[in-house]
Symmetry: C2
Subunit: 260 residues, 2 copies
């Protein structure tokens, strides 16, 4: 059974304030928690507790069994009320909120994804998943981006948030400090140079902006180059923009295609 | 005021069954409805009715004014209960469900996006938006894909669903018929040829599969070529897959980059 105090804790973790206070975040779903268990064995994430059904526990492979002590058996009904998912998976876990110390030196010799005011949890999760797929190790978010340990972000990232380091920084400051290290700043905008003509090379940052308003004007003024993804609407009146997750995917793929 | 019958109608349109029965679908949000009004003047969509606040109506540019007769003034409170959005926009509209007659001849001389069992409205909407951005005119969905006129799909497409024709077809049949027209079928899978080495040329179909299970095995067996987007995780244990909206964006961009 989940105790009243545990229930309070689990409920509180849907708010960033309490995630920070308890230094914990929520994980939901079979695939995500199995993934986290594997990461746990590599010390990439620290799972504190899993509440699961007997059936789920029995389905774990032997290799994960030594972690039995963090699994508490509960009945599926008991878990339903904590799930944000439409088909509650019969298990939930809490893990320690990672703490990453930011240093501009992580920008050296890398192409780093930077996000300005991304508000939609699905978009941030998708971008983290894309970054992970293409082997980008770090994402830097402006302080008004949605929190990476928001349950919906964790879910949409399909666990990639356990592998990619997400930092929250003041972007104007970041760009200025990066410049001192000769890290150039590219921004995905509606105008600028075609991504296929842009000479992105390491070290660089590629910045993607807010879902409605794009990159803020303050940041735009600080960019070394504006880039855009050429649309190809033959009737000339297609969509005004791409979804930011789609833009980030196209740019990340193009960077890797060039072997950057 | 919105009458009781109108309220019933609006509520019913969240279900596909009633969208088909009434041959109507819902539009929400300022940007989307303005967009639709413009499309309306071009006869690309037929808006039947808009319920909006006085303030919104007064904000319309003169060029759209002749459509005044389809706008009914209501108060913002009255609209709230129909909105699926967290910040209800103070207006809602209904438009005629388009009817597209499918013919395999639309595949000729095109690269067509085909979706096998896409269930998430956000993903379908994003793919429609991407297709529109890159000027793909048609999307063909398997019959178990989410409905393109689902309010969340319409929303995520940012109105692109008003410009892209979305057909629902039996995919095995489609592929067999397409083959007779020498239209080749490419499928985005986890293995296969790198998209950068694949020789896609018109006419072709590119198929993307379900969020969890990918392309169904029945369809896989019918493909002319499996393609994949190479990941580049240096630590070799990154995300297992990309979000389907991200995959579709990368493939669409690559097709257009090659001038296809």
């Amino acid at each position: 059974m989940i105790s009243i105090n545990q229930k309070k804790l689990l409920n509180s973790l849907s708010h960033k304030k309490y995630r920070v206070k308890h230094s914990l975040f929520l994980l939901e779903g079979d695939k995500l928690i199995r993934d986290a268990l594997e990461q746990n064995t590599k010390n990439l994430v620290k799972i504190k507790q899993i509440w699961a059904t007997e059936e789920w526990k029995n389905s774990l492979p032997d290799s994960l069994e030594f972690q039995n002590e963090i699994i508490e058996i509960v009945n599926a009904e008991d878990l339903k009320s904590f799930s944000s998912m439409t088909s509650p998976p019969g298990l939930i876990a809490i893990a320690q909120l990672p703490e990453f110390e930011f240093s501009t030196s992580i920008l050296k010799e890398e192409v780093t994804i930077v996000l300005d005011s991304i508000r939609d949890p699905g978009n941030l999760g998708t971008i983290i998943r894309t970054a992970d797929w293409f082997g980008f190790k770090n994402i830097i978010c402006s302080k008004d981006c949605v929190d990476a340990y928001n349950t919906k972000v964790v879910q949409a990232s399909m666990g990639a948030v356990l592998r990619v380091s997400v930092y929250y920084q003041s972007l104007p400051e970041l760009i200025m400090n990066a410049r001192k290290l000769k890290v150039r700043s590219f921004g995905a905008t509606m105008d600028g140079v075609s991504i296929y003509d842009s000479y992105i090379k390491r070290p660089a940052m590629v910045i993607f902006g807010n879902e409605s308003t794009g990159i803020s004007s303050e940041i735009k003024d600080l960019l070394d180059e504006k880039i855009h993804i050429p649309g190809n609407s033959p009737h000339g009146d297609g969509s005004e923009s791409l979804n930011v997750g789609s833009s980030a995917a196209i740019v990340c793929a193009e960077i890797r295609r060039r072997g950057l």
